[in-house]
């Protein structure tokens, strides 16, 4: 059962009586839009990390370029949500549903920005022969990307308990980031010529950690979508 059916319950304005109402179809389409936005953001993050590790400048530049598309899609999705509210006057669960979609879209767009920043910061690192703690950053990137894909799956399946589990895992990301932070700071103290590489990697780590935070925000949005309650997770 798609999230539309869950959020809608009985479609509010089934004029024909036969087939789903226009409102239900439109709500389902809005969810598709947000899911696609999510997939594009997850792709961007993975490609940015891949470009960093494999020194692929073309890949990184493609991520930077693609951010424009992500922003445009989010803008048009937000507008579509507002039009939906104005046209169909949703209430209760359905209204929660549309609001949650708008909130999620906004989080995803910012996550996209962070992914693009990772790509931007990774570009000058391609030429450097030594990228300290690259393994750690790569692992951090992998965990964050998993979180993003997981939360999108939880949204698709309307699975709030899975969303809560995902939010709980944010701890792991924070721990790895803080350890990385300490390691890079120490490195910079001991090796002044590593400062340029280390600072770029630090900022990449920071952006990754922010993406992780926003995954937790989306998890909260999903709980809101499901229960109408605003709950702080993680």
């Amino acid at each position: 059962m798609t999230a539309a059916a869950d959020a809608g319950g009985a479609p509010p304005s089934a004029v024909d009586g036969d087939g789903p109402s226009e409102a239900t179809l439109e709500l389902a389409a809005l969810q598709d839009d947000v899911r696609l936005l999510g997939r594009l953001v997850a792709d961007a993050l993975e490609r940015a990390m891949d470009g960093l590790v494999h020194r692929n400048g073309d890949r990184l530049r493609a991520v930077i370029e693609a951010d424009r598309d992500i922003n445009e899609r989010q803008r048009s999705e937000r507008e579509r949500c507002l039009v939906f509210i104005a046209t169909h006057h949703p209430v209760h669960r359905e209204l929660n549903g549309v609001v949650a979609l708008m909130l999620m879209g906004s989080e995803l767009e910012r996550m996209g920005d962070h992914a693009m920043s990772c790509a931007r910061l990774a570009l000058p690192l391609i030429e450097l022969s030594d990228r300290p703690h690259l393994e750690d950053i790569s692992r951090l990137g992998r965990y964050v990307a998993e979180q993003v894909r997981d939360i999108l799956a939880a949204f698709t399946d309307a699975d709030t308990s899975r969303a809560q589990d995902i939010a709980a895992r944010d701890d792991r990301i924070d721990r790895i980031y803080h350890r990385l932070f300490e390691d890079l700071m120490e490195l910079m103290r001991e090796q002044p010529d590593a400062v340029y590489a280390a600072t770029n990697l630090l900022f990449i780590g920071h952006n990754l950690e922010r993406i992780g935070d926003r995954v937790t925000n989306i998890a909260e949005d999903l709980v809101f979508l499901d229960s109408g309650r605003i709950v702080e997770l993680g």
């Binding site: 087939g19 598709d32 839009d33 696609l36």
Partner: protein, 366 residues
């Protein structure tokens, strides 16, 4: 099938007569998955390939068309194809009334499909669309392998070729008439040409492996005989290098692709021999660690620093230039690729001044 073939007034009578047979043929033997969905993305009909791709038994065939009957109620396309790109394409096709062509990812991103959504003429108020899914994975993989190959060849051949040209020009110019210099330069040209040869072979091997991923064939395999074959083949190389190769083989089996495992081991062993000084030793072992079969090659070379270690499996990375003279930088990446496509992993550990161990971790026999 709704919106049936007989409805098109432009179709010649003869074609219309055989249309059901043609449909049956395409439906049963076509390689594309074809479905018909309604506005809520419910699957109304699917051809044989679609049901196979969905991993579901097809409904009993339609007695007239020989085609699977309409789908059981409530099957949503969104449930089957999780990639939202397809759902958005279907939405667009319905909303704008246009044919939409979109890239769709399936099997957790492992396979790429081309999704084509065609809005169908409305039959009695209910709007429907035709969805065609064509597996594009192999074609894309080949294209990507091709592009990589071209990029690598043009980039990495440039330097050795420039070096060769410089040597030859010097030979013709300044060194002309100087017999000793001539011989020296000619010898260097020979060495560089040999390096180029190895480089090209390596690039082609890698390209071949990457394009060939669909034909990996794993089977239960005793590791001992594989190791013995590779060690014997590399005997002359070890002797030339003054390096002894020892075997410590436990009776271990793995689920592996024999040809690719040999390529991997061969590259790793060759590398170990190359980077161990004369008088040194290379030991090949088979063991089981944490339930998984492990093939390890341990050398007594001078080791790899912690900074360099993560890079040894990178293409064309030859590390410390002074010992890179005979290396194409492709041996370990080739080994890694050959192992990973059969579901295994490679790893390395090293201690400066002591030696390096490269491990192949394989899948256990179930």
């Amino acid at each position: 099938m709704t919106g049936g073939a007989g409805a098109d007034p432009g179709l010649p009578e003869a074609v219309r007569a055989v249309a059901p047979a043609v449909l049956d043929l395409l439906g049963r033997h076509g390689s594309d998955a074809v479905l018909v969905v309604d506005e809520s993305h419910t699957v109304l009909w699917g051809n044989t390939r679609a049901w196979e791709a969905m991993d579901r038994p097809p409904p009993p065939p339609d007695p007239v068309l020989g085609q699977p009957r309409p789908a059981p109620a409530g099957l949503s396309l969104r449930r089957w194809v999780r990639d939202p790109a397809l759902a958005v394409a279907v939405g667009r096709a319905f909303q704008e009334g246009v044919t939409v062509d979109e890239e769709v990812h399936m099997a957790a991103g492992q396979r790429t499909y081309r999704g084509i959504v065609v809005p169908l003429p409305a039959a009695g108020g209910d709007r429907q669309a035709l969805v065609v899914l064509r597996d594009d994975t192999a074609a894309r993989r080949l294209t990507r392998a091709h592009q990589d190959l071209l990029a690598n060849l043009s980039h990495d051949l440039r330097t050795p070729l420039a070096g060769l040209r410089l040597l030859a020009e010097t030979l013709v110019g300044e060194a002309r008439g100087d017999r000793e210099a001539t011989v020296a330069f000619a010898e260097r040209i020979a060495v560089e040409a040999e390096r180029l040869h190895e480089l090209v072979s390596g690039i082609l091997d890698l390209a071949h492996l990457e394009a060939d991923v669909d034909r990996v064939r794993v089977e239960p395999l005793r590791l001992g005989p594989v190791v013995e074959r590779v060690v014997e083949r590399l005997g002359p190389v070890a002797r030339d290098g003054g390096v002894t190769v020892q075997l410590e083989l436990a009776e271990v089996s793995a689920l592996a692709d024999p040809a690719r495992l040999e390529v991997a081991l061969s590259n790793i062993l060759d590398n170990a021999i190359k980077f161990t000084a004369p008088g040194g030793e290379v030991v090949v072992t088979t063991t089981v660690a944490r339930g998984r079969p492990v093939l390890a090659v341990r050398d007594t070379g001078r080791g790899i620093s912690a900074a360099e270690l993560p890079r040894i499996f990178e293409r064309f990375y030859t590390g410390d230039r002074s010992r890179a003279s005979r290396s194409s930088g492709l041996g370990l990446p080739i080994a890694r690729h050959a192992v990973e496509v059969q579901g295994g992993r490679v790893g390395a550990s090293s201690e400066l001044g002591v030696g390096t161990t490269v491990e192949i971790r394989l899948r256990p026999v179930p």
